[in-house]
């Protein structure tokens, strides 16, 4: 018994040591941990493109695309009144060169984005650390957190030592590498203060300390514990600290007379010009077939346009379910788009015939893929409102694309008997 106890302890210790020594790699940035109601009903990304899937250190990659702010924004997440466009990438593996929303520079936060509207973004990033990194656009919403877009693995080749970023200030000072700028000055000052502090501590710690001083202090022998010499040293330390502070401040102010504060604040960006929406979806509801990993959507579609349209794609939470029988939709898929985000089984539609102008039709869509589980999107069953949202793309015979929001309550079904009969 005693033996077993120690054996378990040794085993536990061994496991702890192994777990501490094993390298830990983060293969994603937490997007799967984001609640489904945020991923399906807030920022819906589409047309996202990466200019390359392999770049060298110092080369740039451009990520472009659009996002739609879903109208049925969940109450549990703050509205996008203050947002910031960024990217998710591990640490400093890439550096940001430029960022734009609707063509406007987006180095500041953006205020007043409107629900139901679309925005275009562009990110220019520069390779810094060699490796294969998962690069995603990200819109941070104050109160709701970062809402991450689709991601693609991008390889950066070369050596980090070659990375350079040079800047010239408005006062004409050229900085050859921002990565190391001013670090010597910072460390020299820290070292200076550290040495004075170390001298002061050693002045005291070199003496008999804990027990003798405590006993002497208990007897009220303060005069031998802190002497006149100590007072002189203490006064010197105060003078050195004050002189160094004043002299350092004076010197640096003379050396850098023109300084500006940190840049804060927010900009207002207008949404893209609203495109006509000839196709509308109403009365949508959904079922999720738990054992079949299938989302079934029931909706009423009205085509108030002038051309017949067909359903080409249903997209939500960066997953794309495409109608593989529609050539216009297949043409719409960028060959460089991450394959893991396009469901191989596609989107089944019934009836999959053109919806005529003026026609209102009940439509059934079926999106089957293991990604519902692997992307942890089925935890919507734990959401307080159990709703799902997404975008549906329609195409007319000219190949013109029309977008419509789809959304409604979602119900899990566990057996065939529970499924809605069609």
């Amino acid at each position: 018994m005693k033996f077993g106890f120690w054996r378990y302890r040794c085993l536990l210790l061994l496991l702890l040591v192994i777990s501490a020594l094993l390298p830990n790699y983060a293969m994603a940035l937490g997007e799967k941990a984001t609640e489904p109601y945020i991923r399906t009903r807030t920022v819906l990304w589409y047309d996202v493109q990466w200019s390359a899937d392999k770049i060298a250190v110092n080369d740039t990659i451009t990520v472009t695309g659009k996002f739609h702010l879903y109208t049925d924004w969940p109450d549990a997440a703050a509205r996008p009144e203050l947002t910031f466009l960024g990217e998710t990438a591990p640490g400093g593996s890439l550096t940001r060169v430029e960022s734009y929303i609707d063509g406007m520079p987006a180095q500041q936060s953006i205020r007043g984005m409107e629900l139901g509207r679309d925005y275009e973004f562009k990110l220019v990033l520069k390779g810094r650390v060699p490796g294969t990194w998962h690069i995603q656009p990200e819109l941070s919403v104050k109160g709701a957190g970062p809402i991450i877009g689709p991601g693609k693995w991008v390889e950066i080749t070369g050596s980090q030592a070659d990375y350079k970023i040079s800047v010239t200030t408005l006062t004409g000072i050229h900085i050859s590498d921002l990565q190391t700028y001013n670090i010597n000055r910072v460390q020299a000052w820290h070292l200076f203060w550290f040495l004075i502090g170390a001298v002061w501590l050693l002045w005291w710690l070199r003496r008999p300390l804990i027990i003798p001083r405590w006993l002497a202090a208990q007897k009220g022998r303060d005069e031998i514990l802190v002497t006149d010499t100590d007072d002189v040293v203490a006064a010197s330390v105060i003078v050195i600290a004050l002189v160094a502070t004043v002299a350092g401040y004076w010197y640096i102010t003379e050396a850098f007379p023109y300084t500006v504060p940190l840049t804060g604040g927010s900009n207002k960006v207008e949404a893209l010009v609203e495109a006509p929406h000839p196709v509308m979806i109403k009365d949508a509801r959904a079922e999720y077939d738990v054992p079949g990993r299938t989302l079934r959507l029931f909706a009423t579609v009205t085509n108030s346009g002038t051309h017949p349209v067909r359903i080409g794609e249903f997209t939500t939470a960066q997953l794309r379910f495409v109608n593989r029988d529609l050539p216009a939709e297949l043409k719409n898929i960028d060959p460089g788009y991450p394959k893991d985000l396009i469901a191989p089984t596609g989107l089944k539609i019934d009836p999959d015939t053109p919806i005529q102008p003026g026609e209102t039709r009940k439509v059934y869509m079926e999106a089957t893929d293991a990604a519902w589980e692997t992307e942890r999107l089925m935890s919507f069953l734990n959401d307080i409102d159990s709703r799902i949202g997404g975008l549906v793309f329609f195409f007319d015979e000219t190949g013109t694309r029309h977008m419509a929001e789809i959304g409604g309550p979602i119900v899990p079904v566990f057996t065939e008997q529970q499924m809605t009969k069609r």
Binding site: T83, A89, P90, G92, R96, P105, Q107, S109, S140, P146, Q160, T169, L170, L178, T180, Y181, N182, I183, R185, V186, A188, H190, W193, I196, G197, W200, L201, W204, L205, R207, P208, L209, I210, I211, P212, R213, W214, A216, A217, K219, R221, I224, L225, V226, A234, A235, V237, I238, A241, L242, Y249, I252, A255, F256, Y258, T259, V260, P261, L262, G264
Partner: protein, 282 residues
Amino acid sequence: MTKNDAAVLTAAELSPQAAKWSRTFDYMIIVIAAFLVMSVTYLNFLLLAGDWDFFIDFKDREYWVLIYPIVQIMMAAAFQAIFWNLFRLPIGATAAALLFTLGVWIERYQSWGGLSYFPITLVVPGTFFAGALILDGMLCITRSFVVTGLFGGVLFGLTFYPSNWAFLAPYFQPVKLMDSVTSLASLMGYTFARTGTPEYVRLIERGTLRTFGSPVWVSVFFSAFVCIFQYFFWWLVGTLATKATFIPVGYRFKQLYGMKDKVQSGGAKPVGAEIKTTGVVA
């Protein structure tokens, strides 16, 4: 050994053998106390002001200048009280500053540089050494925590900004980013993007302090004012920590932890052991 050291040992009435062992004990305590001071000071700062000091583009002229000294004087004062009350050692504030500096540089290189690939110049820490040295020096000279709090507390707050500006000013040179003027620090923050750290989480000069001109000196003086009260409060907290009069080491305490009492092991039961606990009085 100096005459003064000999006088202290004489006053303590330690035999030469005991004095030798007490020095060994000193070294052990110094190592343990160093870890304690480092971790407590660093943890306290991380919890209350961490973000403001992590990144160069978070060090604004209002809140960083205001919050940093107010937080750092807490442990400086508490450790000063502990070391002074027990051992008449005016080293608490400097020890907190020195060990914090050591810890923070290890963390910056290990976490931000090593694990996250960020350049160290993006994450340079501030320092409160000037104020800490003044606090300790003043306590040593005056032997009074009241005077130290009143004058040292003010100087602790006042010296923070200028002593840090001496090495941070170059980060605030004007540069152009996408046709807008910004500081080099802001440019660095934009360039070396941190996932999940959007621009708006920074609190950059919100409020109306600009009414008084440059907001930085208003913050500095207000910080110095608050530091006085922080010093006194945390001195009292430190003093309380030196008065360990409530640690039960008696009969009931032993019982509670299943330890054998003298009665159970055949010894005499102490008088009043059922209702009293003994304690260590500092």
